[in-house]
């Protein structure tokens, strides 16, 4: 008769290697190439903005959990760090640090903790912070420093929008735009969004590590390409090309890193595809016919609000409900 104490628990008795912290860590690794490009383009300022934003987000979360909720702090899951990096990536590199602090408090405090913290927030916290700053401090949020290799301090999207509005034909606008240089990050914009290539490298990492599936990014960008393509084919001198739209603004950053946020995206693949089509459409409608040059943040936030509905009515494909082939 053995007297050794044994653990009793229901099956399964093994667990996969995946946990929240590892997945958040993978997202941070995937964001690294874009951060490197950003430092190359804007200098150490880009790094300082990112580090400061992370610090503010982590501090805000810690303060709320510790002193307002009087519960355990759960910074170990790295989610506040991811929010911090993503918020910074959506800001100009020369933004005053005070505004970053405000953005972080809004992002974490209002965007996340008000709803109960990680997993409960309906809207992407980093985007809540960004859109708050954009509306409250429009000038600071749309004045970009000159990036290395960029032609002007305005973003290509803004330049194109202004020019097309005054009737300048696309061919003339394109004389000042080099798409290849743009994809590498030689353009103006929020600090993390400038290099589509660096962001796509991160996308590959997320796919390899199975953090996200391809559906949302590919469908968002595909929908954008389709809509901008139709516009471009019908009036090539009035609308910029699909490639320009995919490489400019927050298209890739939004599609790969913001729209795929677990908490605020649908639980089923079918739901995710509908959500992604919605984001692509709204983004393009804002870009082509709206008042703002960029619509990615608004599109994601609007579609975030549809997620509960998608989760309620769109159910996964079940086993054993198809008619078997007899």
């Amino acid at each position: 008769m053995s007297t050794q104490k044994l653990v009793i628990s229901p099956a399964p008795h093994v667990h996969g290697s995946n946990d929240t912290r590892r997945m958040m860590g993978d997202v941070l690794i995937a964001l690294l190439p874009a951060l490197v490009v950003s430092v190359l383009a804007y200098g150490w300022q880009a790094f300082i903005v990112t580090a400061f934003s992370v610090a503010c987000c982590v501090l805000t979360e810690w303060f709320i959990q510790k002193f307002m909720l009087k519960g355990p702090a759960t910074l170990g899951n790295l989610s506040a760090v991811v929010t911090g990096v993503l918020l910074a990536f959506n800001l100009p590199a020369n933004i005053p640090l005070g505004l970053i602090a405000i953005g972080a408090v809004v992002a974490i405090g209002i965007g996340k903790m008000t709803f109960g913290g990680l997993g409960k927030n309906p809207f992407n916290p980093a985007l809540v912070g960004r859109v708050f700053l954009l509306i409250a401090f429009p000038v600071a949020m749309t004045t970009f420093p000159e990036a290395a290799g960029a032609v002007s301090g305005a973003t290509p999207l803004a330049v194109a929008k202004e020019a097309l509005k005054t009737g300048t034909p696309v061919s003339e606008v394109m004389q000042n735009i080099d798409l290849a240089a743009m994809s590498l990050g030689m353009k103006s914009g929020s600090l993390g969004e400038i290099s589509a290539l660096a962001l796509l490298l991160g996308f590959v990492w997320l796919l390899v590590r199975r953090v996200i599936s391809w559906h949302i990014p590919v469908v968002v960008l595909g929908t954008m390409a389709l809509i901008s393509g139709i516009a471009w084919v019908s009036a090539p001198e009035q609308y910029m090309s699909p490639l320009f739209h995919l490489l400019s603004g927050g298209a890739v950053l939004g599609a790969v890193f913001m729209a795929t946020d677990y908490v605020t995206s649908p639980m089923t693949t079918k739901g995710a595809v509908i959500y992604a089509i919605g984001i692509g459409m709204i983004t393009m409608f804002v870009r082509l016919w709206g008042a703002y040059p960029e619509g990615m943040s608004f599109a994601i936030l609007i579609m975030n609000s549809v997620v509960p509905l998608l989760d309620k009515y769109i159910r996964p494909k079940r086993f054993g409900v198809v008619k078997s082939k007899k």
Binding site: H15, R318, F319
Partner: protein
């Protein structure tokens, strides 16, 4: 390569510990404790009393109904008790205790290794033999085999599928049987096919066992009706519904049975037991058990008499040093053992020892809605949602979200990055919903 259509996971198979160990006959224990309920359904009724002399292979418990099974003595000796003993989970169950004396068998049992291939019995005689010899499903569910072989009126079996998947990590008992008893296995499969009147036999094997696939293919070359089907490794391919879908492409309808799509599934161990029962007149009194784990000095595949205490097997393979948890069966669906002196039964496919460091669950975190559980569920359910509904006792919602379809494979809990005990809640919800469904069905009658 074929596999099932939805969900699934890829746990490390960890079969390296015991896959190289040839089946070894475990020495006779001094005392065996044979439970009268080793199967799903009604327990058998003891037909021996304290003081009786019994022979190996002698009936000591007769089936307590149609969905029940005969129980035979696995040893010769003297009955020392017919009473309740603690099972592996510590619950008191009726058992027959026998002090072992020598190894004498009842008359007519052929213990030789001579292969007999010619099947002379008719279908109904095969079923009668299987019933008499107390054969049950040996993959773990222990459903009485004769019930599965009795195709209900109005249904027609079209194929027999031999479940040679052994998708549970660590376990290698079926694998060793395929390598060492391949001929017997194939004859057993042909007997089963004859019993249900089909002339198509599939043997589904996962591609992490290439040598078993090759060996069976070679042996099966002489039988036109047998097809060995290699399957892409993925858990829970050994689930009955998943295996049928992987092999035939047909999905058992929700709430239905395999026979609804013309399939009857039997496990490797069962096919071997059927061969021995029909051809050798030998009742189900011993089975191959994998005793494995990273802490063991010598993991083994042992041929063990039913009723042998698990603790003796563990001792034989290296003992409990560094072990924090003992599991009867595999790590995905096996049950944790609180009483290691409980006996090996017809359904014990393995005894798995888990090191202390891996025994305790991680502290659950909060759901981050990553949808990994939805992705992993092979039945296409939403475990994150069902677990919340079950927790809040929203059983009507659980039912309308098809919790009754859950096969309790554990893919959801395995994949959850927040270490949430999803399946625990699903089991509770499913139990409650099934109870309600049964009550409704009874009220209708």
């Amino acid at each position: 390569m074929k596999t099932f259509p939805i969900g699934g996971i890829h746990p490390s198979d960890n079969k390296q510990y015991s896959k190289g160990a040839a089946i070894e006959r475990f020495p006779l224990p001094k005392v065996v404790v044979i439970p009268l309920a080793q199967h799903i359904g009604a327990p058998a009724v003891a037909c021996v009393a304290k003081g009786d002399k019994v022979l190996a292979g002698q009936v000591i418990g007769t089936a307590g109904g149609f969905v029940s099974s005969n129980i035979h003595s696995s040893v010769s000796g003297t009955v020392t008790a017919v009473d309740a003993k603690a099972d592996a989970q510590g619950l008191m169950k009726p058992c027959v205790t026998i002090a072992v004396e020598g190894d004498e068998w009842v008359e007519g049992v052929d213990l030789s290794d001579t292969l007999i291939k010619n099947i002379n019995l008719e279908a109904k005689d095969i079923v009668a033999k299987v019933t008499e010899m107390g054969i049950v499903g040996m993959g773990g569910a222990t459903f009485p085999t004769h019930v599965k072989l009795s195709v209900p009126p109005g249904k027609k079996a079209e194929c027999l599928i031999i479940n040679a998947v052994e998708c549970e990590p660590y376990l290698t008992a079926d694998y060793r049987v395929m390598l060492e008893k391949g001929e017997e296995l194939l004859v057993g499969a042909r007997i089963l096919a004859k019993a249900i009147g089909v002339d198509k036999i599939y043997i589904g094997v996962e591609n992490n066992k290439p040598d078993a696939i090759a060996a069976l293919k070679k042996l099966a070359a002489t039988y036109v009706e047998i097809e060995v089907v290699p399957l892409k490794m993925r858990y829970p391919q050994g689930g009955e519904k998943q295996l049928i879908a992987a092999v035939t492409g047909r999905q058992v309808p929700s709430g239905g049975l395999p026979i609804d799509v013309g399939a009857v599934v039997q496990n490797v161990g069962t096919a071997l037991a059927v061969y021995e029962a029909v051809m050798k007149n030998k009742p189900l009194v011993e089975r191959v058990v994998t005793v494995t784990g990273s802490t063991l000095a010598s993991p083994k595949n042992l041929l063990v008499r039913v009723g042998t205490p698990m603790s003796e097997l563990i001792e034989y393979c290296g003992g409990l040093e560094g072990v924090g948890k003992v599991v009867a069966g595999g790590p995905m669906m096996g049950r944790a053992v609180s009483n290691i002196d409980a006996p090996v039964t017809k359904g014990t496919s393995g005894v798995l020892l888990i090191p202390t460091a891996e025994s305790l669950r991680q502290k659950p975190d909060t759901c981050i809605r990553c949808a990994k559980c939805v992705e992993a569920c092979p039945m296409g359910l939403e475990p994150y949602l069902l677990s919340k509904m079950s927790k809040k006792e929203m059983y009507d919602e659980c039912e309308s979200h098809n919790i009754a379809d859950c096969i309790e494979c554990g893919c959801c809990t395995f994949s959850c990055p927040a270490y949430l005990p999803l399946l625990d809640w699903l089991r509770i919800g499913k139990g409650e919903v099934m109870k309600r469904m049964r009550a409704r069905a009874a009220a209708k009658k």
